[in-house]
């Protein structure tokens, strides 16, 4: 390979930068429930969670987007050994709380999720529905202050006629309005927009809190109270009829029931089915931290003016010159980056040829992202 090498001075030609890239992730409820007739929903024999894909999951085009599960703390009033999958629901709640919040006290009691930033044992979320997002969507983390979940709170048949929107409105990218735990930072999900229904005014701009979102972990914890606290139409119909499934994922014939009752008396997948049925829209921005090394490849006036390309000469004569006094010219299309052993480590291609003559000097800025 007959090429000339130019050294890179680590002090003047190389620098590093860090940039944050955000992507908007919009998920419409029809993808989660409806469009694919649940062929994009994967239930497991163990019945502990449900995976949601963006396309029928048997297709190689399908991407896993999030998992759904539900559970409660054993101190919850819902906890009962007579419940369907009672121990699994408790185990799942504990698993998420121990990973995200850890333990407290001399007896290493697992912490409970709370509807606030203080973790002071008030405002506990003892009955939870959990959305665990795929890393494909969240990348490094969910951008603070960008999470928005619109839930249908209408009747079972027409859930989206009445909606409530939960947002982490108090959180900001500076870290304000969030709390740090062993599972990363979390923000509180407040009801910010919706209908005035029953005893709760969902229309309040910064209304009650109904859950939390863990940004780095990409997990949203929803309190069952978001559905339970209203006596309006539909709240007794959180889960209904054939939509309530059993632990194997098959459908059953449950009567119309509220959210708490669903958590206790139906399978985990049945509650997940009902929650999916009520997701109107879900959107957040993800964040990717990109660390870059920038190499300033300087082509000085007196270098890289000739080429070893076989077409550069005809009968040994340069095809770009008529006379020796004409300036040589070459065209750069590629930058190769090498180590000291002349091994080609990275390649950058220009989108169009760059003309190089002894009359110009080029600086090509090559950025490698990690």
């Amino acid at each position: 390979m007959p090429v000339s090498y130019e050294p890179l001075n680590v002090n003047t030609d190389v620098t590093t930068t860090k940039t944050i890239l955000h992507e908007v992730i919009p998920l419409t409820g029809s993808i989660v429930s409806g469009t694919y007739s649940d062929q994009n929903i994967k239930n497991f024999v163990h019945g502990m969670f449900q995976s949601v894909y963006d396309y029928p999951y048997l297709s190689s085009s399908a991407n896993h987007i999030f998992d759904l599960t539900a559970g409660y703390d054993e101190s919850s009033v819902l906890s009962s050994s007579a419940n369907v999958q009672n121990s699994k629901k408790i185990n799942l709640y504990n698993q998420f709380s121990q990973v995200l919040l850890g333990y407290t006290g001399s007896n290493n009691v697992v912490r409970l999720f709370e509807n606030d930033l203080t973790l002071d044992s008030t405002g506990s979320i003892k009955n939870a529905m959990i959305i665990s997002f795929s890393r494909l969507l969240t990348k490094d983390q969910i951008k603070k202050g960008s999470f928005s979940l619109q839930l249908g709170v209408g009747s079972y048949d027409l859930p989206h006629n009445e909606t409530v929107t939960l947002q982490d409105v108090s959180a900001s990218t500076t870290g304000d309005g969030t709390t740090s735990t062993i599972g990363g930072d979390y923000g509180v999900l407040y009801a910010t927009d919706g209908v005035a229904t029953g005893s709760i005014d969902y229309a309040t701009s910064n209304g009650p809190a109904y859950g939390v979102v863990f940004y780095q972990a990409g997990i949203a914890i929803l309190s069952s109270s978001v559905f339970d606290q209203s006596a309006s139409a539909g709240f007794g119909q959180f889960n209904s009829g054939s939509f309530a499934g059993d632990s194997s994922g098959s459908t059953g014939d449950h009567p119309a029931i509220g959210c708490s009752e669903s958590l206790s008396s139906t399978s985990i997948s049945g509650t997940c089915d009902a929650l999916r049925h009520r997701i109107t829209n879900l959107t957040f921005n993800n964040s990717t931290e990109i660390n870059s090394t920038i190499y300033f490849c300087r082509l000085p006036v007196n270098k890289f003016n000739y080429s070893s390309n076989p077409t550069y000469t005809s009968g040994s004569k340069l095809v770009v010159k008529n006379n020796a006094s004409d300036l040589p010219v070459s065209y750069a299309t590629t930058i190769g980056l090498y180590n000291a052993r002349n091994e080609l480590l990275a390649v950058a291609k220009l989108s169009e040829p760059l003309k190089k003559t002894p009359e110009n000097e080029l600086t090509v800025r090559v950025r490698l992202d990690y």
Partner: protein
């Protein structure tokens, strides 16, 4: 591999190569230098006499679509931009194989098309058949000319003679022109980089000093060269399965005898009609541990190349030679050949 979008601003598409990822995984990814390539460019499109003026000379070249980056290390910059200290060069030396007949030491490519015309036969005489005959003897008896058979590892036998020079018939091949167009502008090669497939070739033999290619007193030319194993052999940085080594070069002293002569008889002794640069002479040593299954995997077995009933096993490979100063290159097709064995 798609083209890059060239409809807007100039963008740069950068990827790590296979080696880059490997170095990253090993924790020794450290970039220290760069080079510039122009593999997509066809300089034949440069119209230096465009009727509309010099601004239009490179109109077509600048519209060349560029491919996305490859991750293979040898598929990105095969021909790169080079730097020469002078900007007034009008000629750049090229490289060619000298196949003239004035010296019995010079090997020629096979002229028998059916037997692999254009390739250089490298006979592995260490492999004999049941009759104990050496490969080269049988080949020559079959129809191959003696001049077309290079004997593996022979130090005083035939050699591949490689020259650099200027292939321009408007420049006389005089010593003065050699100085003007090659020596004085820093294009005289004192050494050559040789790249060879290490799976089949164990070592390269090059000149050991005192090599001479010059006009003889009788009006002809003489070649004197003794070969020995080259030094500084190491793994090739840009070709998989290849090693590279350095072979010495010497000044080619075949000149046009009388500058006033109409005919230049020195072209009977050199591959170039114009001023000559340097030369080197090479032989190759076939690896002794090539197995019969290697011939099956990488080559051909039992081929009756000359229609004589004698069959041969062979492996084709390529030798790359590059001038250290001129950057001129040549690729030589080599056929490693032996009598058929089972």
């Amino acid at each position: 591999m798609a083209f890059l979008d060239n409809s807007g601003d100039i963008i740069l598409d950068a990827v790590l190569t296979d080696v880059g990822r490997k170095r990253m995984a090993k924790g020794n990814f450290r970039i220290t230098k760069f080079s510039v390539g122009d593999d997509e460019i066809d300089y034949g499109l440069y119209d230096k006499n465009h009727p509309s003026g010099s601004a239009y000379n490179d109109l077509e070249i600048l519209q060349t679509p560029i491919l996305e980056a490859f991750t293979q290390m040898n598929a990105n910059i095969n021909y790169g931009l080079v730097s020469y200290p002078r900007q007034d060069l009008l000629y750049l030396p090229s490289m060619d194989q000298n196949e003239k007949t004035f010296s019995p030491q010079i090997v020629q490519a096979s002229a028998v098309t059916s037997a692999g015309g254009g390739t250089i036969f490298l006979a592995d005489d260490t492999k004999t058949n049941a009759a104990g005959e050496t490969t080269s003897k049988v080949m020559i008896a079959d129809g191959a000319r003696r001049e077309t058979v290079l004997i593996s590892a022979g130090t005083n036998d035939r050699v591949i003679l490689i020259e650099t020079g200027i292939a321009a018939d408007n420049l006389a091949s005089t010593a003065a022109n050699q100085s003007t167009f090659i020596s004085s502008v820093g294009l005289m090669d004192s050494s050559f980089l040789v790249k060879f497939d290490k799976r089949f070739i164990g070592s390269v033999l090059g000149p050991m000093g005192g090599a001479n290619l010059a006009n003889s007193a009788k009006g002809g030319a003489t070649l004197q060269v003794n070969l020995g194993k080259t030094k500084s052999t190491r793994r090739s940085r840009d070709l998989s399965n290849y090693n590279e080594t350095i072979a010495d070069g010497a000044v080619n002293r075949i000149y046009k005898q009388n500058s006033t002569d109409t005919d230049d008889v020195s072209t009977q002794y050199s591959a170039f009609v114009g001023p000559r640069g340097a030369f080197t002479a090479l032989n190759l040593s076939v690896r002794p541990d090539i197995t019969q299954s290697d011939y099956s995997k990488f080559g051909t077995q039992g081929a009756d190349l000359y229609g004589s009933g004698t069959t041969y096993d062979y492996i084709d490979t390529t030798l790359y030679v590059q001038g250290a100063s001129s950057n001129a290159t040549i690729q030589l097709p080599i056929r490693i050949i032996k009598l058929s064995q089972t």
